[in-house]
């Protein structure tokens, strides 16, 4: 499977936000914990809406959560 050209800082942001668990984040954006795990591992690229919701939870901009990697 081709690796997604997008990296993310979700794991770091979770720990910087009170060691938020994947379950907590999943519940706040309305997906399953397995989906958060897949996004975090770079195995699944979330929809734009889900990406914005994740950024909103951490109170940061989208580009601070996701970066394009050439």
């Amino acid at each position: 499977m081709a690796k997604l050209p997008i990296v993310n800082q979700i794991r770091r942001l979770r720990f910087e936000n009170g060691e938020m668990t994947q379950s907590d984040l999943a519940e706040r954006i309305g997906v399953t914990r397995q989906t958060i795990a897949a996004i975090e591992a770079g195995k699944y690229g979330p929809s734009l809406e889900a990406a914005f919701r994740i950024a909103q939870v951490f109170g940061v901009g989208l580009e601070e959560v996701f970066q394009w990697e050439d």
């Binding site: 499977m1 994947q22 379950s23 999943a26 519940e27 309305g30 997906v31 399953t32 914990r33 397995q34 989906t35 897949a38 591992a41 195995k43 699944y44 979330p46 929809s47 889900a50």
Partner: protein
């Protein structure tokens, strides 16, 4: 493991079990063709499948943590759509392949029904396997 992945496993195992027994008996001649026994076996397989799926799905729902059994999310919807697309093509091929037995040797309506039924079962298995693979690899 999420509830949807467990559901895919339940579908795979129960369909393999129930229809493995049925088609095993039909294609080995363990039940006489064109008999009530074959019909009873088919109905038994379907009823057993329904009962097993209901029981195992309830068990899966009860044993899955809350974070894995919410409403279907975007990734699960995508996995469902992709797996059903694959299953659709498999079903098309299986249905198209029915033309071979019907033209190469004389087959009865019961045989054709069994081949068509086999196509449904194979496509269901392919959908379940595709879902499991996608759940395992992330999408």
């Amino acid at each position: 493991m999420s509830f949807r992945e467990k559901s895919a496993w339940i579908t795979l195992v129960t369909v393999l079990l129930c229809f493995g027994v049925y088609f095993g008996a039909v294609f080995t001649g363990a039940v006489p063709a064109h008999s009530w026994a074959m019909l009873h076996l088919a109905l038994g397989a379907i009823l057993t499948l329904i009962v097993l799926q209901i029981a195992l799905t309830i068990f899966a729902a009860v044993t899955t943590p809350k974070d894995g059994r919410g409403p279907r999310d975007e990734r699960e919807k995508m996995i469902q759509a992709r797996s059903h697309t694959i299953g659709y093509y498999v079903l098309m091929v299986c249905t198209g392949a029915l033309i071979i037995p019907t033209h190469t040797h004389g087959v009865s309506m019961v045989d054709i029904t069994n081949y068509a039924f086999l196509g449904l079962v194979v496509s269901t298995i392919v959908v379940a396997v595709a879902q499991i693979i996608m759940f395992r690899r992330g999408y």
